[in-house]
Symmetry: C2
């Protein structure tokens, strides 16, 4: 009689995501994930490899199917605003910058492909489009990293919901992000 358990990699990632949502990234350990699945660590290692690989998979989970569809008569600047907004939302959901700074660059590259295609369609040459995507992606990830420092779960301070100790309100942050992206788009357009 085999004691084998139906333990697919997606279930492991899902368990990690659940723990992340409930208790923060610091609560995600090989042991806590295994335990949530009713298993000891070795079976998890057999499926996922190690903790880095698990966190990569969790990050990929948040970036999956990120890009919205391009509207037929939508120019790239408008699409870029929607795309970066979407990326920002996904990263914000992950709620811990350590997770998505550690994600390998190829994942962002993959996610930015529709944006690149939209720029090419509007006549931007390949090098410029690649550079523009890089600029917008880095700016968005960097911005969210700054906006959601990794001091949430472990060192919970006086972070009252809605009021920020540093004196920056959520509206100001939204406005800052929009302005940031608009300035970049303006600059990219002006160079073409």
């Amino acid at each position: 009689m085999s004691a084998e358990i139906d333990l697919r990699p997606e279930q492991i990632v899902a368990a990690a995501v659940d723990i992340l949502r409930e208790s923060g990234l610091d609560a995600v350990s090989m042991r806590s994930v295994a335990s949530r699945l009713g298993v000891t660590p070795p079976p998890v290692y057999a499926r996922i490899g190690n903790k880095d690989a698990l966190l990569d998979a969790v990050a990929d989970h948040f970036l999956a199917d990120l890009a919205p569809a391009v509207d037929r008569d939508e120019l790239w600047p408008d699409y870029a605003r929607r795309w970066t907004g979407q990326l920002r939302q996904r990263l914000t959901e992950a709620a811990d910058s350590r997770l998505f700074l550690q994600v390998k660059r190829p994942a962002y590259l993959e996610a930015s492909r529709p944006l690149l295609k939209c720029m090419r369609r509007d006549g931007m040459d390949r090098d410029r489009a690649v550079r523009a995507c890089r600029l917008l992606t880095w700016a968005t990830v960097g911005f969210v990293a700054m906006d959601h420092p990794p001091l949430d779960a472990p060192r919970r301070r006086n972070r009252l919901a809605g009021s920020d100790p540093a004196g920056v309100t959520a509206e100001e942050v939204d406005e800052l992000f929009s302005a940031h992206i608009d300035y970049l788009i303006d600059g990219i357009q002006r160079e073409s």
Copy 2:
């Protein structure tokens, strides 16, 4: 006979910085720092508090005396380019984004005061200047965080010196940073 040891907080921070430079942020532990100072952990706790406080102090170390002097007839856009360049250099020295994303915002606010003053001197109104500083600071920190992900020391991959696996060379990164900052400066100027 007292076994008391001359152990000042600055020495503790210096030891942590040394370990960070030599072996990366993951090698900085309360135990490794204590051990380098020839001491057990409790005396370190007595001086510094805990690990978060130690890392805050290490981050402050890298941001200390950051702002270059403002030249007499230098307009704020030029100074902003120098200031963000300096900030980028300091953050790059720290070499691990986890360190400076975790630094409390007041440290950046302090560092940006000369930039704010320079903008005010050039006639920008207070709200605009505060917003512009925030934009430039966040963009710089975010950019460096993206450029130096925390996968250096622990998970050392095939990161050949000079050649980047993601296909972005150091020159391209420099150019990307300059362009990013220039676009922001242009945008800020255009709104005034």
